[in-house]
Symmetry: C3
C-alpha cells in the first residue's frame, strides 16, 4: 500500500487538491494520500522546501512525495523523479531539488511520461500522478525516464560564515510566530567551537546568549532560542508570538556573534 | 472499499468535519474519505458547484460525493441521491444539482432516510452519511427513496451569446488569483467559428486576443487567456495574481468580441 | 485498523501535521488518520476542548485522539493517556482533560514513554505517536504508565445558575458566525422547569424567547436560538452571520431569564 504525499501552493478553497486525489485513487485505489500542506505562498519554492524538508524524514521508506509548486515542465525545468534515502520525490526541476538535497547522494531521472490533455497548467494531476502510480506499482526510476545529472541551483538557504560570526536570515515563520533561521545545529557547533555567543536580531542590545531545549526553559512572555524539531535555529517566545513581538519577518537578518578566540 | 468525498462551507476550525468523518468511519470503517474542500463561502452554491464540477470527473466510478452546503431538507429542497456517470451525489436540492448536471442524463431519488436526532441543523452527518453508507454497501438508488423528476433550477452559470459577442462573468477565483469565466471551450469555438477575437474586461483597450496552452506562453507578469484544466476560459498572469492586478472580481463581466463575419 | 485523530493549533502551512502523520504511518502503516482540526487558536485549550468534545462522540469505539495543544510535559502537566467510553485520548494534563470529561468516569495513566530526541518542543510526534501506536497495537493503559488520579482543573465552561436566571458566555463561534453558549440543553431544562424565558445578549430589549429545531424555523435574516448538534445553546441568524450582525464575540455574556415562579 503506497503512501503518497502532496505539498503545494494550491490553497484549499478550490478543486485542485480534490482533482489530484481523485486521479490518484482512480489509478491506485489503495493509496494512502497525505496532505503535507497546500498553504505554501504562491510560487514560493523556498517555503515549500522548508516544509517538505522538515516533514519527509518522518515518513517510512518507499513514500512518494509530489511537489505541486511551479510545476510547469520544459527545457529549463524538466519533470523529475528523484530517489533519496529510499523515498521518492516528483516535481519540476525549478530549484527545489537542489535546496532539498543540497549536494547529497541522489538518483534522478527526467521522466518521459506523456500527458493526455492538451494544456499544460496542471502537471501534478496530468504527469506526477502517473509517475507516482508507476513507482507505487514497483517500477524502478530507470524505467521512468533517462538519467538526469545536475540539478538546477537557483536559490540558497546558506548563511555566510566568518571566523567569529554567522550571518543568517529568517527562512520560515510558523503559525505560533516561531521564527526559523537558516543556521543549523551542526554549523552552529562547528563555527562556535564551544565559545560563548550572542544571537542578535533587530536591536543588537537585545540578543539571546543561550540555547535552550524547551520553550518553557524561560518564563511565559520571554524570548528563547533553540534547535527544535527542524534542526534549524529557532527564535521563539514562550506562549507568545515571536514574529510579531520581536518584529522578525521572512528574510530578516539574524547574526550569531561568537566571543573572539 | 468506498471512496467518499466531502465538499462544504463548514470551514476548518470547528467540529463539523471531524463529526462527519467519525460518523462515516463508525458505519463504514473501510471508507476512504477525501476532503474536496471545506472553504466554500457560507451558503454559496455556485462556488460549491464550480469546485465539485471540476474535481469529480477525476474520481473513479462508484465514488460517493457528499455536498454539505445549504443542506436543510424540506418540501422546497428535499434530500436527494443522484447517480451520474456511475458516481453518486448526495445533497439537498437547493439548486446545486441543476448547476452540476445541467440537463445531462441523471438518475435521482428523494431519500426516505429517517434521522435519529430531533434537530435539523446537521443533515450531512445525520442523513447524508447514512445514505452514503447504504450506497457503499451496494444498495441501489431505488432502495433509498422514490424517484425524483425535476431538479430545482435556481441559478445559472450560462453566459449570453450574440452572433459576434459572448457576455460572460467571473465565476471563480483560485488561490493564485487566476480568474475563471463562465465561457467554456466548446461554446467559445461554436460561437467564434475560427474568427479573430478580443477578450475584454475592465478597460476595453486592454484585451487579450489569443488563447494560450500554458501560463508560460507569455513572459512573467504578462496576462494570458487559456482553457485550462477546468475547460472554462481562464484569465491569468504568468507568475502573478490576475484578480488583483487586473481588478477582476467574482461576477465581473468579461466579454469576447469576435470579428464581424 | 486503528483510527487516529489529530486536534491541534499547528495551523496548516508548515511541517507539523505532515511530520506527525509520517511518524504514525512509519510505525503503523495501516492507521486511518483523521484531521479534526489544526486551526485551534494558539494555546487555546478551551477552543480545542469545544471542537474535540463535539466531534469525538461520532467516532467508533477504539478511536485514538491525539491532542496537540500545549503539549509540553513536565511535573505540572504530565503526558496522559485517558480512556473514556471506549475511546482513547492522549495529551498533556494542561486542563483540557478536566474540561473534556468534566467529572465523568475515566481511566487515566501518566505515560512512561521515553522520547528519542533531545529537545522537547514536539511531544505530539515524539511521545504521543508512540503511545497511540502502542494502544493501536493492543496494549492496555496499565502497560503504558502508572495510574493518574486527579486531573488538573484550570478552566471552566460552567455558567452561573440562579433560580430564575442562567448567566452564560459565548464559548465558540463557527465559520457561519453561529454563536455557541456554555448552557446545555439539560441545564436549560432543569433550571427552566418549562417556564417561559427570554435569552438576552447585548441590548436586553432584543432577546429570543423561543427554542427552534432548525435555522429555517425563522425567515432568512432573522435570529434564532436552538440546541443544535452540539447540545449547547446556539444563537444563529438564518442564512446570516450572527456573530457579526449581533455583535457577539467569544466570552461575551448571554443570559437566560425565566419567568418568576
Amino acid at each position: 500500500m503506497a503512501i503518497i504525499t502532496l505539498t503545494s501552493d494550491w490553497g484549499n478553497g478550490n478543486h485542485y487538491t480534490g482533482a489530484v486525489k481523485g486521479a490518484l485513487l482512480k489509478q491506485n485505489p489503495d493509496a494512502t494520500i497525505v496532505d503535507i500542506t497546500h498553504d505554501i505562498p504562491s510560487f514560493d519554492i523556498m517555503q515549500a522546501c522548508f516544509v517538505l524538508k522538515n516533514a519527509f524524514p518522518d515518513f517510512p521508506k518507499g513514500t512518494i512525495h509530489l511537489i505541486g509548486v511551479n510545476t510547469e515542465g520544459g527545457i529549463e525545468s524538466p519533470h523529475l523523479a528523484v530517489k533519496y534515502r529510499d523515498q521518492f520525490f516528483i516535481g519540476a526541476d525549478n530549484g527545489i531539488f537542489s535546496l532539498l538535497f543540497d549536494g547529497q547522494d541522489i538518483e534522478a531521472v527526467e521522466v518521459d511520461v506523456i500527458q493526455d490533455s492538451d494544456y499544460f497548467t496542471f502537471s501534478t494531476r496530468d504527469v506526477f500522478v502517473k509517475v507516482a502510480v508507476m513507482i507505487a506499482g514497483g517500477k524502478g526510476l530507470e524505467e521512468l525516464g533517462h538519467p538526469y545529472q545536475s540539478l538546477n541551483e537557483r536559490y540558497a538557504f546558506n548563511p555566510v560564515v566568518y571566523p567569529d560570526t554567522i550571518i543568517g536570515k529568517v527562512i520560515f515563520v510558523d503559525a505560533y510566530g516561531n521564527v526559523f533561521v537558516n543556521i543549523d545545529k551542526q554549523l552552529f557547533r562547528e563555527a562556535g567551537k564551544g565559545r560563548n555567543f550572542i544571537i542578535n536580531f533587530r536591536s543588537p542590545d537585545d540578543g539571546i546568549s543561550e540555547i535552550s531545549t524547551s520553550y518553557s526553559d524561560v518564563v511565559p512572555g520571554e524570548k528563547v532560542a533553540l534547535f527544535g524539531s527542524t534542526g534549524y535555529l529557532e527564535i521563539a517566545i514562550n506562549k507568545g508570538k515571536a514574529s510579531t513581538l520581536l518584529g522578525l519577518e521572512l528574510n530578516d537578518t539574524v547574526t550569531v556573534a561568537f566571543n573572539e578566540e
